[in-house]
Amino acid sequence: MKTVNIMIVGVGGQGSLLASNLLGHLLLKEGYDVKVSEVHGMSQRGGSVVTYVRYGDKVYSPLVSEGEADYIISFEKLEAARHAPMLKLGGQIVVNTQQIDPMPVITGAATYPDGILEELKAKGIKVDAIDALSLAKKAGSVKAVNIVLMGRLSNYFPFNEEVWIKAIEETVAPKFAQMNKTAFLLGRSN
């Protein structure tokens, strides 16, 4: 099979590393060759963060380049727009509709663009937008945005629900397992 390229993008502190660990774990269990590439350190501090997940029969590069991503999961609207050029023609964006102002917007040096997701759609990009923050709150914690988004993403993959639930149980701390399962199912069904 051809290597599938996934990008998980968001704002440092939103929990994208847990999402990529979950995905990597699941893909390993399903028998694929997998690479998950992340960056620690400076980029975590509220900056733009990017994680690459690639799987297939044999994966060489740990990175996804411009025009190569099959899926972009964005934890924030602006980040979806920032990384849209990474998407393959015909690729799919799954995006949380949450808005987090970056520092240049906070200081007034830049403005947060209105209707950015509509603009992407108008360009012919497939955008699946979801209010993951509200669903995460419903599940019991605003921090579960990452798992809500994984739930939404799961609709695009051929793995059944049990496989995902098992991967969640094996990846998150036991005391948060139930809440995360709820978050996953809310994302998957909404």
Binding site: K35, R45, G47, I106, E119, L133
Partner: protein, 583 residues
């Protein structure tokens, strides 16, 4: 067992299985997790040393004592450890020793982009370079046999894309190596001129032997593509980009032993191809070697010596191919990293910026104080340079400068290499003001303990350096502690110490907001009726604060209730929420 491991965890697993008994390191992105993962194995004694020089010497001592040992550091940490490195090349080892060094092409979290391969060449020690986690694991294990066979420390070069990329590793069992008996060998281990003169020829001979070994060793892999005119010499993560683009359609010489490099087998390889190309990030180390042995490769004439590559670069440069893409026309504002909501550094930086002081900075999270809107920093060079630098700055500009210049340094960085600078301030008498930003942890690298925290790498209680007493013992009479959440107190302290006609230290003390034991308070809210849109609070650069509909607004998902913005509001518009339903 098959596991998905980041390269650093794979190295740790390799150390474990190789029977390593002692690991000493100083944290530094992207090397930190090597030691963090090694610390999870009870059979390995692990520690955070105050700096990389100490760590390397600890590992040397353990090797001398007959235990396999290792240390890990980032590329700039190797500068600090260079002193022991160069002479350990002469002494060699008793039990095997591995020095892991992680480069950071593209500077994801670093102040420069130096190429550690220069050090292996200069110190004349072998260097390995893995291309994925599986190789990181295997090379880490094999390094010890190489080290013991050739009587040399071995270096292993990681880079961000190997260190922080998870790929599949098939792990094995630990080989419990016995401690080798200690033998006193003065001529081997005492490097005074008489003995060192005898050792240098041994080092040169060793390089010759290692070069012969490199011709046909398992670390290097040669793949000849039948009928291909292109031959690529590469290593590490670049190998993956080459394979991604070309698969098995071009010949590839993949170097795993990056120093010393072979001669004859590379000449043979070049003879089988029409076009010889080197793909390597940063400096032309492989390319220069090929030129030195009489070959004429293309390398930096095609590829940049700046930043990191991806398959995109290979495709574009060698195949003139680009992928199609779509994007929005509206410009997307940058999202630079910022200090976290509730960060204790923000309060003291606000005061320094307000007072328009010249601030010499250092290495850590607090470098982020340089960015708008605080713009509180004037320089950042390397670990400890703020404390040494302010002394030189004040000596050059005199008393007037002493009253409007301060330096800032974190607790861990002060332990690393700030202390000696402070001794110099006391001894050579400048009336400098040193602010130690004590957040009770090594923050930037992701919360490692250090000698001021009272805990060791395992989280067990440990001796705690008393910063107040330490600064006193180093010769500073004026040492005071402030709470950076209290803006008035901070301003008063800075004013008084700047005015004092002797050196002083201000310890700005409050634990990092991200530490587990630090409990967030309920998010604050803005009373929109009271807010006059003066934007005073926006000068803090807190990511939880923004302007919505012309009024200040607080993002409840981010605010931790530190109360610093509350002190800036002249209209009492910022206050505690009545409920905490949002948390």
């Amino acid at each position: 067992m098959k596991q998905l491991l980041i390269g650093n965890a794979a190295v740790a697993r390799g150390l474990y299985e190789a029977g390593v008994r002692v690991v000493s390191s100083y944290p530094g992105t992207p090397s930190t997790e090597i030691t963090e993962f090694a610390a999870k194995y009870d059979e390995i004694y692990c520690e955070w040393a105050p700096n990389e020089k100490v760590a390397t010497e600890v590992a040397f001592g353990a090797s001398l004592a007959g235990a396999r040992s290792a240390c890990a550091m980032k590329h700039v940490g190797l500068n600090v450890a260079a002193d022991p490195l160069f002479t350990m090349s002469y002494t060699g080892v008793r039990a095997g020793m591995l020095i892991c060094v992680a480069d950071d092409p593209a500077m994801h979290s670093s102040q420069n982009e130096q190429d550690s391969r220069h050090y292996a060449i200069a110190a004349k020690v072998p260097m390995l370079e893995p291309a994925d986690s599986s190789e990181a694991y295997n090379f880490a294990k094999a390094a010890f046999e190489l080290s013991e066979k050739y009587d040399t420390p071995v270096m292993m070069r990681m880079c961000t894309r190997i260190a922080h990329c998870q790929s599949i590793v098939d792990t094995g069992e630990r080989d419990n190596m016995d401690l080798l008996p200690y033998e006193k060998q003065p001529e081997k281990y005492i490097m005074m001129p008489g003995y060192a003169k005898k050792k240098h020829p041994v080092v040169e001979k060793r390089t010759e032997m290692l070069t012969a070994f490199a011709e046909n060793c398992d670390f290097n892999k040669v793949f000849i593509a039948p009928g291909s005119e292109i031959g690529i010499v590469t290593s590490g993560t670049c190998y993956q980009y080459v394979k991604e683009v070309f698969g098995d359609t071009v010949s590839v010489y993949k170097l795993g032993l990056i120093n010393p490099m072979p001669v004859k087998s590379l000449i043979d390889f070049a003879g089988k191809v029409k076009r010889l190309i080197v793909v390597e990030e940063l400096d032309p180390i492989i390319e220069n070697h090929l030129r030195n042995i009489g070959l004429e490769p293309e390398g930096k004439s095609l590829f940049s010596n700046i930043g990191e590559f991806s398959q995109k670069d290979i495709k574009k440069i060698l195949l003139d191919k680009d992928e199609e893409k779509l994007c929005a026309d509206t410009p997307v504002p940058n999202r630079p990293p910022v200090m976290c909501p509730g960060c204790p550094h923000r309060g003291i930086y606000y005061v320094l910026a307000k007072m328009k002081l010249t601030v010499l900075g250092d290495i850590g999270c607090y470098t982020l104080g340089a960015t708008p809107p605080l713009c509180a920093l004037d320089s950042t060079l390397c670990m400890g340079a703020s404390v040494s630098g302010i002394h030189g700055f004040n000596k050059a500009r005199g008393a007037e400068s002493e009253q409007k210049t301060v330096c800032v340094i974190g607790d861990s960085t002060f332990m690393h290499s700030g202390m000696t600078g402070l001794v110099n301030i006391a001894y050579n008498a400048s009336d400098s003001v040193v602010i130690i930003l004590d957040n009770s942890i090594t923050g930037m690298t992701g919360h490692q303990q250090n000698p001021t925290t009272g805990y060791n790498i395992k989280g067990d209680p440990a001796a705690k350096v008393d910063l107040e007493k330490l600064c006193g013992a180093l010769g500073i009479n004026r040492v005071r502690v402030v709470d950076p959440y209290d803006l008035a107190e901070c301003e008063k302290a800075v004013k008084e110490e700047l005015a004092a006609r002797e050196p002083s230290v201000i310890i700005s003390r409050r634990p990092c907001m991200l530490l587990k034991y630090v409990k967030a308070k309920p998010a604050l809210i803005v009373d929109a009726d009271k807010c006059r849109s003066c934007k005073s609070c926006m000068r803090l650069g807190c990511p939880a604060l923004s302007i919505k509909n012309g009024k200040a607004a607080i993002d409840f998902t981010q605010c931790v209730g530190c109360g610093v913005c509350e002190q800036l509001c002249a209209f009492d518009a910022i206050k505690e929420a009545n409920t905490d339903e949002n948390r």
